[in-house]
């Protein structure tokens, strides 16, 4: 029926995923690399540290994001930039599932809407419910 439409929709969707992944990874790695550089200016060394502030620890990723912007660089700008980079990294595949769910709903592909929604729910629960 709508097969030519579906094919071109599929190709656009794959391109969108490709650009989303590339943009997420590149921006996250730039932030992390910038954070490492800033770390040197802030602390005067680049030692791998076992200090408590170097560890990410949050019960809920979405609170973690909120705190990241509310508190700002409370432990220094360099660690904040690195943390932001890691947050972008974590959000990259998450955004990819979100995009997939929207795509399959728009295409009225019921089975794959359910499949991708299932993955989205699992990931959201795991990121939030602890």
């Amino acid at each position: 029926m709508s097969s030519p439409n579906r094919i071109s929709g599929g190709i656009k969707f794959e391109l969108a995923i490709s650009y989303l992944l590339a943009a997420g990874v590149v921006s996250s790695l730039i932030l992390v690399a910038a954070g490492i550089l800033l770390f040197y200016f802030q602390f005067g060394n680049l030692a791998i540290s076992e200090k408590k502030v170097m560890f990410l620890q949050e019960k809920n990723f979405f609170y973690f994001l909120y705190d990241l912007f509310r508190d700002g660089p409370s432990h220094g700008f360099s660690l904040w930039v690195m943390t932001l980079g890691i947050a972008v990294l974590i959000l990259t595949p998450y955004a990819r599932v979100l995009l997939s769910v929207l795509h399959f709903i728009r295409e009225k592909d019921f089975k794959f809407s359910v499949i991708t929604l299932f993955v989205l729910v699992i990931l959201t629960l795991s990121l939030a419910a602890h």
């Binding site: 490709s18 076992e50 595949p93």
Partner: protein, 276 residues
């Protein structure tokens, strides 16, 4: 003492070798970090986070080139994400000594794949089963070697899902992509062509790694000064590795693979035995 700069420059060749051998950067880097005195759970958690970058980076180009089967990947992700969450939860609970042995044992399973000669011929199109037809999983890609479009069918998606649950469990537990294991499942159960299989597995690994990382996030094992340089270095290395991969001879790659895996197994077993 290991610094962020030395870790960054160590991660580049490791990511390069990981891409060439199909082991992935984290599988090689975690035993090295353990050797350098980093606690194993911390190395695993940071390995898991850095895989999101390596995998999503290379998946981006495979999807654009339309080799990876996105539908198959999304179907299998249901299984790998659950596996990875369970695996990562187990790791936060068990003794590190067990992890050394699990790591070594899992690496040993990757020999299963390397033993078989990788067939370069396009697979015969078998008739797909009902489930695959219902999910519309079949696909096609343009093969550079044969200079033509290859159509393929997919088989036994549910059995493949079971295999992926195991792959996800191992990946989440050990902080690795478990790519070789995923490829074995996809080629032997789902009957995906080799190129589709390795690129689709790469696509799935990013999501699996996110699921594992979501558990490590609140376990307090994610060390910024460790995972930052790891993520940047292994991804740069993997991009370089992906570029030369097609120019390398299969025999050279096999030898490299066997040498590296044997070394990693020995290191983890040694660490495990000495911590008993």
């Amino acid at each position: 003492m290991l610094s962020m700069v030395s870790l960054l420059f160590l991660s580049i060749p490791v990511g390069f070798l990981g891409a060439l051998t199909g082991l992935g950067g984290a599988s090689i880097l975690i035993p090295i970090l353990v050797f350098l005195g980093i606690p194993v759970k911390e190395a695993i958690a940071c390995g898991m986070a850095s895989i999101i970058a390596t995998s999503s980076g290379s998946a981006s180009s495979y999807v654009r080139e339309k080799i990876a089967n996105v539908r198959v990947a999304m179907f299998l992700e249901m299984f790998t994400t659950i596996g990875a969450i369970a695996g990562a939860t187990i790791t936060t609970l068990i003794s590190p000594t067990l992890l050394y042995f699990f790591f070594a044992a899992f690496l040993a399973t990757s020999f299963l794949k390397s033993k078989r000669t990788v067939s370069e011929s396009p697979p015969s199109s078998e008739w797909p089963d009902r489930m695959s037809r219902w999910l519309n999983l079949q696909g096609s890609y343009f093969d550079e070697v044969y200079q033509r479009r290859i159509d393929y069918k997919v088989n036994h998606p549910l059995w493949g899902g079971g295999g992926m649950l195991l792959a996800g469990l191992a990946a989440g537990m050990l902080g690795i992509g478990a790519g070789a294991f995923k490829v074995t499942v996809q080629e032997n159960i789902l009957k995906l062509p080799p190129k589709v299989s390795s690129t689709t597995s790469n696509f799935i690994i990013g999501m699996t790694a996110l699921a594992g990382t979501s558990v490590y996030l609140y376990s307090g094992l994610l060390n910024l000064t460790l995972m930052g340089p790891m993520a940047v270095g292994t991804t740069l290395g993997a991009v370089l590795g992906g570029r030369v991969l097609n120019k390398m001879r299969n025999r050279t790659l096999r030898m490299l693979f066997i040498f590296i895996v044997a070394f990693l197994i020995l290191q983890m077993v040694y660490k495990g035995v000495s911590s008993l």
